[in-house]
Protein backbone atom coordinates (compact mmCIF):
# COMPACT_ATOMS: atom_id res chain seq x y z
CA UNK A 1 0.00 0.00 0.00
CA UNK A 2 1.42 3.38 -0.94
CA UNK A 3 1.12 5.93 1.82
CA UNK A 4 -1.33 8.72 1.17
CA UNK A 5 0.72 11.80 0.38
CA UNK A 6 -0.32 15.05 1.92
CA UNK A 7 -0.50 18.15 -0.26
CA UNK A 8 2.87 19.77 -0.68
CA UNK A 9 3.64 22.22 2.16
CA UNK A 10 4.26 25.08 -0.26
CA UNK A 11 0.93 24.46 -1.86
CA UNK A 12 -1.56 27.27 -1.52
CA UNK A 13 -4.90 25.90 -2.64
CA UNK A 14 -5.74 26.45 -6.27
CA UNK A 15 -4.07 29.85 -6.43
CA UNK A 16 -0.67 28.39 -7.23
CA UNK A 17 -2.16 26.32 -10.00
CA UNK A 18 -3.67 29.37 -11.68
CA UNK A 19 -0.35 31.17 -11.33
CA UNK A 20 1.32 28.20 -13.04
CA UNK A 21 -1.14 28.42 -15.94
CA UNK A 22 -0.50 32.09 -16.61
CA UNK A 23 3.17 32.63 -15.80
CA UNK A 24 6.36 30.61 -16.18
CA UNK A 25 8.08 29.35 -13.09
CA UNK A 26 11.44 28.00 -12.04
CA UNK A 27 11.69 24.24 -11.92
CA UNK A 28 14.14 22.42 -9.70
CA UNK A 29 14.96 19.66 -12.19
CA UNK A 30 15.08 21.33 -15.61
CA UNK A 31 18.37 23.09 -15.01
CA UNK A 32 17.01 26.61 -14.72
CA UNK A 33 14.66 26.17 -17.68
CA UNK A 34 11.32 27.68 -16.83
CA UNK A 35 8.14 25.63 -17.00
CA UNK A 36 4.44 26.41 -17.18
CA UNK A 37 2.91 29.59 -18.50
CA UNK A 38 0.12 30.05 -20.97
CA UNK A 39 2.32 29.19 -23.96
CA UNK A 40 3.20 25.71 -22.75
CA UNK A 41 -0.35 25.13 -21.51
CA UNK A 42 -1.78 25.99 -24.92
CA UNK A 43 0.86 23.91 -26.71
CA UNK A 44 0.08 20.79 -24.69
CA UNK A 45 -3.67 21.45 -24.87
CA UNK A 46 -3.42 21.77 -28.65
CA UNK A 47 -1.59 18.43 -28.89
CA UNK A 48 -4.33 16.83 -26.82
CA UNK A 49 -7.03 18.30 -29.06
CA UNK A 50 -5.17 17.16 -32.18
CA UNK A 51 -4.64 13.56 -31.11
CA UNK A 52 -8.19 13.31 -29.76
CA UNK A 53 -9.72 14.60 -33.00
CA UNK A 54 -7.44 12.39 -35.07
CA UNK A 55 -8.38 9.29 -33.08
CA UNK A 56 -12.07 10.21 -33.18
CA UNK A 57 -11.85 10.63 -36.97
CA UNK A 58 -10.17 7.24 -37.39
CA UNK A 59 -12.78 5.61 -35.14
CA UNK A 60 -15.62 7.26 -37.09
CA UNK A 61 -14.20 6.21 -40.45
CA UNK A 62 -14.06 2.60 -39.33
CA UNK A 63 -17.09 2.30 -37.07
CA UNK A 64 -19.81 4.25 -38.91
CA UNK A 65 -19.57 2.43 -42.28
CA UNK A 66 -19.40 -0.93 -40.47
CA UNK A 67 -22.37 -0.13 -38.23
CA UNK A 68 -24.30 1.25 -41.20
CA UNK A 69 -23.65 -1.83 -43.31
CA UNK A 70 -24.44 -4.39 -40.61
CA UNK A 71 -27.46 -2.40 -39.48
CA UNK A 72 -28.77 -2.17 -43.02
CA UNK A 73 -28.29 -5.91 -43.55
CA UNK A 74 -29.69 -6.66 -40.09
CA UNK A 75 -26.78 -9.04 -39.53
CA UNK A 76 -24.11 -9.36 -36.90
CA UNK A 77 -26.15 -8.04 -33.99
CA UNK A 78 -24.29 -10.23 -31.52
CA UNK A 79 -20.92 -8.92 -32.69
CA UNK A 80 -21.97 -5.26 -32.95
CA UNK A 81 -23.64 -5.12 -29.54
CA UNK A 82 -21.18 -7.47 -27.85
CA UNK A 83 -18.28 -5.35 -29.06
CA UNK A 84 -19.79 -2.28 -27.43
CA UNK A 85 -20.08 -4.11 -24.13
CA UNK A 86 -16.59 -5.57 -24.35
CA UNK A 87 -15.10 -2.20 -25.29
CA UNK A 88 -16.17 -0.71 -21.98
CA UNK A 89 -14.12 -3.30 -20.13
CA UNK A 90 -10.79 -2.31 -21.75
CA UNK A 91 -8.60 -0.79 -19.01
CA UNK A 92 -7.27 2.41 -20.61
CA UNK A 93 -4.01 2.46 -18.67
CA UNK A 94 -3.20 -1.15 -19.56
CA UNK A 95 -3.98 -0.49 -23.24
CA UNK A 96 -1.75 2.58 -23.43
CA UNK A 97 1.11 0.93 -21.53
CA UNK A 98 0.78 -2.21 -23.65
CA UNK A 99 0.96 -0.21 -26.88
CA UNK A 100 3.99 1.70 -25.64
CA UNK A 101 5.80 -1.48 -24.57
CA UNK A 102 4.99 -3.59 -27.63
CA UNK A 103 4.56 -1.22 -30.58
CA UNK A 104 6.51 1.78 -29.41
CA UNK A 105 6.03 5.46 -28.75
CA UNK A 106 4.72 8.17 -31.04
CA UNK A 107 1.60 9.63 -32.52
CA UNK A 108 0.70 6.60 -34.66
CA UNK A 109 0.58 3.99 -31.87
CA UNK A 110 -1.27 6.50 -29.70
CA UNK A 111 -3.89 7.23 -32.36
CA UNK A 112 -4.36 3.49 -32.89
CA UNK A 113 -4.87 2.86 -29.19
CA UNK A 114 -7.30 5.76 -28.80
CA UNK A 115 -9.24 4.67 -31.89
CA UNK A 116 -9.56 1.18 -30.39
CA UNK A 117 -11.33 2.81 -27.44
CA UNK A 118 -13.55 4.89 -29.72
CA UNK A 119 -14.71 2.25 -32.18
CA UNK A 120 -16.94 0.04 -29.94
CA UNK A 121 -19.40 2.71 -28.72
CA UNK A 122 -19.72 4.29 -32.18
CA UNK A 123 -20.19 0.94 -33.93
CA UNK A 124 -22.79 -0.29 -31.43
CA UNK A 125 -24.80 2.92 -31.44
CA UNK A 126 -24.69 3.22 -35.24
CA UNK A 127 -25.94 -0.36 -35.53
CA UNK A 128 -28.70 0.16 -32.96
CA UNK A 129 -29.67 3.50 -34.53
CA UNK A 130 -30.02 1.96 -37.98
CA UNK A 131 -32.00 -1.02 -36.64
CA UNK A 132 -34.43 1.37 -34.95
CA UNK A 133 -35.26 3.13 -38.21
CA UNK A 134 -38.89 2.54 -39.06
CA UNK A 135 -39.02 -0.29 -41.63
CA UNK A 136 -41.97 1.49 -43.26
CA UNK A 137 -39.69 4.44 -44.08
CA UNK A 138 -37.15 2.09 -45.69
CA UNK A 139 -39.87 0.31 -47.66
CA UNK A 140 -41.25 3.63 -48.84
CA UNK A 141 -37.78 4.67 -50.00
CA UNK A 142 -37.42 1.40 -51.86
CA UNK A 143 -40.89 1.98 -53.36
CA UNK A 144 -39.91 5.35 -54.82
CA UNK A 145 -36.96 3.65 -56.49
CA UNK A 146 -33.98 4.46 -54.27
CA UNK A 147 -30.99 2.15 -54.53
CA UNK A 148 -29.77 0.37 -51.38
CA UNK A 149 -26.88 2.84 -51.14
CA UNK A 150 -29.26 5.79 -51.40
CA UNK A 151 -31.49 4.28 -48.71
CA UNK A 152 -28.52 4.00 -46.39
CA UNK A 153 -27.27 7.51 -47.10
CA UNK A 154 -30.53 9.44 -47.40
CA UNK A 155 -32.92 7.59 -45.10
CA UNK A 156 -31.22 5.40 -42.53
CA UNK A 157 -28.18 7.55 -41.76
CA UNK A 158 -30.08 10.81 -41.08
CA UNK A 159 -32.65 9.01 -38.93
CA UNK A 160 -29.90 7.29 -36.92
CA UNK A 161 -27.98 10.52 -36.21
CA UNK A 162 -29.15 10.95 -32.59
CA UNK A 163 -28.10 7.41 -31.73
CA UNK A 164 -24.79 7.68 -33.63
CA UNK A 165 -23.99 10.93 -31.82
CA UNK A 166 -24.65 9.29 -28.46
CA UNK A 167 -21.96 6.81 -29.41
CA UNK A 168 -19.62 9.54 -30.64
CA UNK A 169 -19.97 11.48 -27.40
CA UNK A 170 -19.29 8.37 -25.35
CA UNK A 171 -16.24 7.65 -27.50
CA UNK A 172 -15.04 11.23 -27.22
CA UNK A 173 -15.23 11.23 -23.41
CA UNK A 174 -13.06 8.12 -23.27
CA UNK A 175 -10.63 9.30 -25.97
CA UNK A 176 -10.05 12.75 -24.45
CA UNK A 177 -9.65 11.17 -21.00
CA UNK A 178 -7.17 8.60 -22.23
CA UNK A 179 -5.25 11.20 -24.25
CA UNK A 180 -4.40 12.60 -20.82
CA UNK A 181 -2.05 9.67 -20.22
CA UNK A 182 -0.56 10.00 -23.73
CA UNK A 183 2.85 11.03 -22.28
CA UNK A 184 3.29 7.31 -21.53
CA UNK A 185 3.39 6.81 -25.32
CA UNK A 186 5.72 9.76 -25.73
CA UNK A 187 3.14 12.29 -26.89
CA UNK A 188 3.11 15.32 -24.62
CA UNK A 189 -0.45 16.33 -23.80
CA UNK A 190 -1.80 18.14 -20.75
CA UNK A 191 -1.25 14.90 -18.89
CA UNK A 192 2.45 15.77 -18.87
CA UNK A 193 1.68 18.36 -16.17
CA UNK A 194 -0.43 15.86 -14.24
CA UNK A 195 2.05 12.98 -14.40
CA UNK A 196 5.17 15.07 -14.10
CA UNK A 197 5.07 16.29 -10.54
CA UNK A 198 8.86 16.06 -10.25
CA UNK A 199 9.23 18.59 -13.09
CA UNK A 200 6.22 20.84 -12.68
CA UNK A 201 5.56 20.65 -8.95
CA UNK A 202 2.20 20.30 -7.27
CA UNK A 203 1.01 23.56 -8.82
CA UNK A 204 1.71 22.14 -12.26
CA UNK A 205 -0.17 18.94 -11.44
CA UNK A 206 -3.30 20.78 -10.32
CA UNK A 207 -2.97 23.26 -13.19
CA UNK A 208 -2.88 20.33 -15.61
CA UNK A 209 -5.97 18.84 -13.99
CA UNK A 210 -7.86 22.15 -14.26
CA UNK A 211 -7.00 22.71 -17.92
CA UNK A 212 -7.69 19.07 -18.82
CA UNK A 213 -11.14 19.25 -17.22
CA UNK A 214 -11.92 22.49 -19.08
CA UNK A 215 -10.73 20.96 -22.36
CA UNK A 216 -12.91 17.88 -21.87
CA UNK A 217 -15.97 20.02 -21.14
CA UNK A 218 -15.32 22.13 -24.26
CA UNK A 219 -15.18 18.92 -26.29
CA UNK A 220 -18.50 17.85 -24.80
CA UNK A 221 -20.15 21.20 -25.61
CA UNK A 222 -18.73 21.20 -29.13
CA UNK A 223 -20.10 17.72 -29.82
CA UNK A 224 -23.49 18.66 -28.39
CA UNK A 225 -23.48 21.53 -30.89
CA UNK A 226 -22.49 19.21 -33.74
CA UNK A 227 -25.29 16.85 -32.77
CA UNK A 228 -27.84 19.66 -32.93
CA UNK A 229 -26.62 20.73 -36.38
CA UNK A 230 -26.59 17.21 -37.80
CA UNK A 231 -30.03 16.24 -36.52
CA UNK A 232 -32.59 16.80 -39.25
CA UNK A 233 -35.33 19.38 -38.67
CA UNK A 234 -37.99 16.68 -38.72
CA UNK A 235 -36.39 14.73 -35.89
CA UNK A 236 -35.87 17.88 -33.86
CA UNK A 237 -39.54 18.82 -34.19
CA UNK A 238 -40.53 15.28 -33.25
CA UNK A 239 -38.45 15.45 -30.08
CA UNK A 240 -40.14 18.64 -28.92
Amino acid sequence: MTPALLPHPSFAGFAGAFEFIFSKQESSVTGGKKVGGIEQVLELAWTQIEVSLLALAVALLIAVPLGLWFGHKGAGELVAVGLGNAGRAIPELALIAFVAAIIGVGIVPLTGALAVLGIPPILTNTFVGIRQVDRAAVDAARGVGMTELEIMRKVELPLAVPSIMTGVRGASVNIVATATIAPLVGVLTLGDFILGENVYGVNGVVAGAIVTAILALLFEFALAGVQRRLTSKGLRLQAQ
Binding site: M1, P3, A89, L93, A97, A177, I194, A216, F219
Partner: protein, 253 residues
Protein backbone atom coordinates in the same frame (compact mmCIF):
# COMPACT_ATOMS: atom_id res chain seq x y z
CA UNK B 1 12.21 12.85 -23.31
CA UNK B 2 9.11 11.80 -21.50
CA UNK B 3 9.01 14.08 -18.53
CA UNK B 4 5.81 12.44 -17.40
CA UNK B 5 7.48 9.27 -16.27
CA UNK B 6 7.84 8.93 -12.55
CA UNK B 7 11.28 9.78 -11.19
CA UNK B 8 10.34 7.77 -8.17
CA UNK B 9 7.91 4.96 -8.90
CA UNK B 10 4.49 5.69 -7.51
CA UNK B 11 3.68 2.04 -7.33
CA UNK B 12 4.14 -0.26 -4.41
CA UNK B 13 6.14 -2.67 -6.57
CA UNK B 14 9.30 -1.72 -4.77
CA UNK B 15 12.75 -0.96 -6.07
CA UNK B 16 13.25 0.10 -9.65
CA UNK B 17 13.83 -2.92 -11.82
CA UNK B 18 12.80 -5.39 -9.14
CA UNK B 19 10.32 -6.99 -11.45
CA UNK B 20 12.99 -7.95 -13.92
CA UNK B 21 14.88 -10.38 -11.77
CA UNK B 22 14.43 -13.93 -10.77
CA UNK B 23 13.19 -13.91 -7.21
CA UNK B 24 15.42 -16.71 -5.90
CA UNK B 25 18.62 -16.42 -7.92
CA UNK B 26 18.56 -12.68 -8.57
CA UNK B 27 19.28 -13.36 -12.22
CA UNK B 28 17.37 -12.09 -15.20
CA UNK B 29 15.05 -14.74 -16.57
CA UNK B 30 15.91 -15.72 -20.14
CA UNK B 31 12.62 -14.52 -21.56
CA UNK B 32 12.98 -11.16 -19.82
CA UNK B 33 16.26 -10.45 -21.51
CA UNK B 34 14.48 -10.14 -24.83
CA UNK B 35 12.26 -7.08 -24.78
CA UNK B 36 10.43 -8.31 -27.87
CA UNK B 37 9.15 -11.28 -25.91
CA UNK B 38 5.44 -10.72 -25.48
CA UNK B 39 4.70 -12.87 -22.48
CA UNK B 40 7.11 -14.39 -19.99
CA UNK B 41 5.40 -17.38 -18.39
CA UNK B 42 8.26 -18.03 -15.95
CA UNK B 43 8.00 -14.53 -14.56
CA UNK B 44 4.21 -14.74 -14.47
CA UNK B 45 4.09 -17.96 -12.45
CA UNK B 46 6.63 -16.65 -9.97
CA UNK B 47 5.18 -13.18 -9.55
CA UNK B 48 1.46 -13.74 -9.70
CA UNK B 49 1.22 -13.22 -5.93
CA UNK B 50 2.10 -9.55 -6.44
CA UNK B 51 -1.31 -9.04 -7.97
CA UNK B 52 -3.32 -10.18 -4.94
CA UNK B 53 -3.42 -6.94 -2.97
CA UNK B 54 -3.88 -4.69 -6.03
CA UNK B 55 -6.77 -6.88 -7.19
CA UNK B 56 -8.49 -6.63 -3.81
CA UNK B 57 -7.89 -2.86 -3.76
CA UNK B 58 -9.38 -2.48 -7.22
CA UNK B 59 -12.38 -4.63 -6.26
CA UNK B 60 -13.01 -2.49 -3.18
CA UNK B 61 -12.67 0.76 -5.15
CA UNK B 62 -15.26 -0.46 -7.65
CA UNK B 63 -17.75 -1.79 -5.08
CA UNK B 64 -17.61 1.32 -2.90
CA UNK B 65 -17.68 3.79 -5.81
CA UNK B 66 -20.56 2.12 -7.62
CA UNK B 67 -22.53 1.74 -4.36
CA UNK B 68 -22.16 5.44 -3.56
CA UNK B 69 -22.84 6.39 -7.17
CA UNK B 70 -25.96 4.24 -7.20
CA UNK B 71 -27.38 5.69 -3.99
CA UNK B 72 -26.82 9.27 -5.13
CA UNK B 73 -28.03 8.71 -8.69
CA UNK B 74 -31.08 6.81 -7.46
CA UNK B 75 -31.96 9.64 -5.08
CA UNK B 76 -31.48 12.14 -7.93
CA UNK B 77 -33.76 10.11 -10.16
CA UNK B 78 -36.51 9.89 -7.53
CA UNK B 79 -36.26 13.64 -6.99
CA UNK B 80 -36.46 14.31 -10.72
CA UNK B 81 -39.37 11.88 -11.01
CA UNK B 82 -41.23 13.83 -8.35
CA UNK B 83 -40.19 17.33 -9.42
CA UNK B 84 -39.92 17.40 -13.19
CA UNK B 85 -38.21 20.80 -13.13
CA UNK B 86 -35.09 19.08 -11.77
CA UNK B 87 -34.81 16.64 -14.67
CA UNK B 88 -32.79 18.80 -17.01
CA UNK B 89 -30.37 20.33 -14.46
CA UNK B 90 -29.61 16.90 -12.99
CA UNK B 91 -29.04 15.40 -16.43
CA UNK B 92 -26.74 18.26 -17.42
CA UNK B 93 -24.90 18.29 -14.09
CA UNK B 94 -24.19 14.56 -14.05
CA UNK B 95 -23.24 14.85 -17.74
CA UNK B 96 -20.54 17.39 -16.90
CA UNK B 97 -19.13 15.14 -14.17
CA UNK B 98 -19.16 12.24 -16.64
CA UNK B 99 -17.15 14.22 -19.19
CA UNK B 100 -14.28 15.15 -16.86
CA UNK B 101 -11.37 12.72 -17.34
CA UNK B 102 -10.82 10.66 -14.20
CA UNK B 103 -7.11 11.43 -14.03
CA UNK B 104 -7.88 15.16 -14.06
CA UNK B 105 -10.66 14.66 -11.51
CA UNK B 106 -8.32 12.86 -9.10
CA UNK B 107 -5.83 15.69 -9.14
CA UNK B 108 -8.44 18.45 -9.12
CA UNK B 109 -9.27 17.05 -5.71
CA UNK B 110 -5.64 17.20 -4.61
CA UNK B 111 -5.96 20.58 -2.83
CA UNK B 112 -9.21 19.43 -1.21
CA UNK B 113 -8.82 15.80 -0.18
CA UNK B 114 -5.14 15.19 -0.90
CA UNK B 115 -4.25 11.84 -2.37
CA UNK B 116 -5.58 8.45 -1.47
CA UNK B 117 -8.58 6.21 -1.59
CA UNK B 118 -11.21 8.83 -0.74
CA UNK B 119 -10.06 10.95 -3.66
CA UNK B 120 -10.34 8.04 -6.07
CA UNK B 121 -13.74 7.02 -4.73
CA UNK B 122 -15.16 10.54 -5.08
CA UNK B 123 -14.05 10.78 -8.71
CA UNK B 124 -15.09 7.25 -9.64
CA UNK B 125 -18.54 7.53 -8.08
CA UNK B 126 -19.09 10.92 -9.73
CA UNK B 127 -18.39 9.21 -13.05
CA UNK B 128 -21.14 6.61 -12.53
CA UNK B 129 -23.90 9.14 -11.70
CA UNK B 130 -24.87 9.97 -15.27
CA UNK B 131 -25.10 6.35 -16.43
CA UNK B 132 -27.24 5.19 -13.49
CA UNK B 133 -29.39 8.33 -13.36
CA UNK B 134 -30.22 8.04 -17.05
CA UNK B 135 -31.20 4.40 -16.82
CA UNK B 136 -33.38 4.84 -13.72
CA UNK B 137 -35.15 7.74 -15.42
CA UNK B 138 -35.77 5.89 -18.66
CA UNK B 139 -36.82 2.78 -16.73
CA UNK B 140 -39.45 4.83 -14.88
CA UNK B 141 -40.52 6.58 -18.08
CA UNK B 142 -41.07 3.26 -19.84
CA UNK B 143 -43.53 1.92 -17.26
CA UNK B 144 -46.81 1.43 -19.15
CA UNK B 145 -49.49 3.93 -18.26
CA UNK B 146 -51.98 1.05 -18.00
CA UNK B 147 -50.06 -0.52 -15.10
CA UNK B 148 -50.16 2.76 -13.20
CA UNK B 149 -53.86 3.20 -13.99
CA UNK B 150 -54.60 -0.27 -12.70
CA UNK B 151 -52.70 0.49 -9.50
CA UNK B 152 -54.61 3.76 -9.08
CA UNK B 153 -57.84 1.87 -9.64
CA UNK B 154 -56.90 -0.53 -6.85
CA UNK B 155 -56.55 2.49 -4.55
CA UNK B 156 -52.76 2.66 -4.24
CA UNK B 157 -51.29 6.02 -3.25
CA UNK B 158 -48.70 7.70 -5.49
CA UNK B 159 -45.93 6.57 -3.14
CA UNK B 160 -47.17 2.98 -3.21
CA UNK B 161 -47.38 3.12 -6.99
CA UNK B 162 -43.77 4.29 -7.16
CA UNK B 163 -42.37 1.55 -4.89
CA UNK B 164 -44.72 -1.32 -5.75
CA UNK B 165 -45.37 -0.79 -9.45
CA UNK B 166 -43.06 1.66 -11.18
CA UNK B 167 -39.72 0.74 -9.59
CA UNK B 168 -40.16 -3.04 -9.86
CA UNK B 169 -41.06 -2.65 -13.53
CA UNK B 170 -38.02 -0.44 -14.04
CA UNK B 171 -35.62 -2.96 -12.45
CA UNK B 172 -34.27 -4.39 -15.73
CA UNK B 173 -33.23 -0.96 -16.97
CA UNK B 174 -31.89 0.10 -13.58
CA UNK B 175 -29.68 -2.97 -13.41
CA UNK B 176 -28.74 -2.42 -17.05
CA UNK B 177 -27.35 0.97 -16.00
CA UNK B 178 -25.62 -0.59 -13.03
CA UNK B 179 -23.91 -3.09 -15.34
CA UNK B 180 -22.58 -0.37 -17.65
CA UNK B 181 -21.45 1.73 -14.68
CA UNK B 182 -19.71 -1.20 -12.97
CA UNK B 183 -17.88 -2.47 -16.04
CA UNK B 184 -16.66 1.05 -16.91
CA UNK B 185 -15.60 1.67 -13.33
CA UNK B 186 -13.50 -1.50 -13.23
CA UNK B 187 -11.61 -0.25 -16.29
CA UNK B 188 -11.20 3.28 -14.98
CA UNK B 189 -10.22 2.20 -11.47
CA UNK B 190 -6.95 1.06 -13.04
CA UNK B 191 -6.14 4.79 -13.23
CA UNK B 192 -6.57 5.15 -9.46
CA UNK B 193 -2.79 4.69 -9.23
CA UNK B 194 -2.54 8.39 -10.17
CA UNK B 195 -4.53 9.21 -7.04
CA UNK B 196 -2.19 6.94 -5.02
CA UNK B 197 -5.21 4.78 -4.29
CA UNK B 198 -3.68 1.44 -5.25
CA UNK B 199 -5.41 -0.96 -7.59
CA UNK B 200 -4.14 -2.88 -10.60
CA UNK B 201 -2.66 0.29 -12.08
CA UNK B 202 0.17 0.00 -9.54
CA UNK B 203 1.35 -3.06 -11.46
CA UNK B 204 1.44 -1.07 -14.71
CA UNK B 205 2.56 2.44 -13.79
CA UNK B 206 6.02 1.87 -12.39
CA UNK B 207 9.35 2.27 -14.11
CA UNK B 208 10.03 -1.44 -14.09
CA UNK B 209 6.68 -2.50 -15.47
CA UNK B 210 6.02 0.21 -18.06
CA UNK B 211 8.49 -1.42 -20.43
CA UNK B 212 7.67 -4.99 -19.44
CA UNK B 213 4.68 -6.34 -21.41
CA UNK B 214 4.14 -9.39 -19.17
CA UNK B 215 3.34 -7.26 -16.12
CA UNK B 216 0.98 -5.07 -18.13
CA UNK B 217 -0.79 -8.02 -19.73
CA UNK B 218 -1.42 -9.72 -16.38
CA UNK B 219 -2.83 -6.55 -14.80
CA UNK B 220 -4.98 -5.82 -17.86
CA UNK B 221 -6.29 -9.38 -17.99
CA UNK B 222 -7.25 -9.36 -14.31
CA UNK B 223 -9.11 -6.05 -14.83
CA UNK B 224 -11.01 -7.40 -17.84
CA UNK B 225 -11.85 -10.64 -16.01
CA UNK B 226 -13.10 -8.65 -13.02
CA UNK B 227 -15.36 -6.59 -15.30
CA UNK B 228 -16.69 -9.79 -16.84
CA UNK B 229 -17.44 -11.34 -13.44
CA UNK B 230 -19.30 -8.22 -12.29
CA UNK B 231 -21.27 -8.22 -15.53
CA UNK B 232 -22.30 -11.87 -15.23
CA UNK B 233 -23.27 -11.46 -11.56
CA UNK B 234 -25.42 -8.41 -12.31
CA UNK B 235 -26.98 -10.12 -15.32
CA UNK B 236 -27.98 -13.01 -13.05
CA UNK B 237 -29.46 -10.59 -10.52
CA UNK B 238 -31.35 -8.93 -13.36
CA UNK B 239 -32.86 -12.28 -14.38
CA UNK B 240 -33.93 -13.21 -10.86
CA UNK B 241 -35.34 -9.79 -10.01
CA UNK B 242 -37.85 -9.95 -12.83
CA UNK B 243 -39.64 -13.27 -12.26
CA UNK B 244 -42.60 -12.18 -14.40
CA UNK B 245 -40.32 -12.09 -17.44
CA UNK B 246 -39.45 -15.74 -16.97
CA UNK B 247 -43.09 -16.54 -16.38
CA UNK B 248 -43.96 -14.76 -19.63
CA UNK B 249 -41.26 -16.64 -21.49
CA UNK B 250 -42.48 -19.95 -20.11
CA UNK B 251 -46.08 -19.11 -20.93
CA UNK B 252 -45.26 -18.30 -24.53
CA UNK B 253 -42.90 -21.24 -24.95
Amino acid sequence: MISGLPATPLAAVGEVGEGFFHERTGETLPCQARPSHLFCWDWATENIHRYGTPTVQQFELVIISVAIGFLVAFAFALLAHRYHLLQWPLLAGTGLLFAIPSVAFFLLLLPVTGRGRETAIIALSAYTLQIIYRNVMSGLANVPESAKDAARGMGLTERQILWKVELPLAVPEIIGGLRIATVSTVAIATLAVFAHAGGLGTQIYSEANLTFPTAIIIAGTIAIAMALVFDVVLLTVQRFSTPWRRAEAEATA
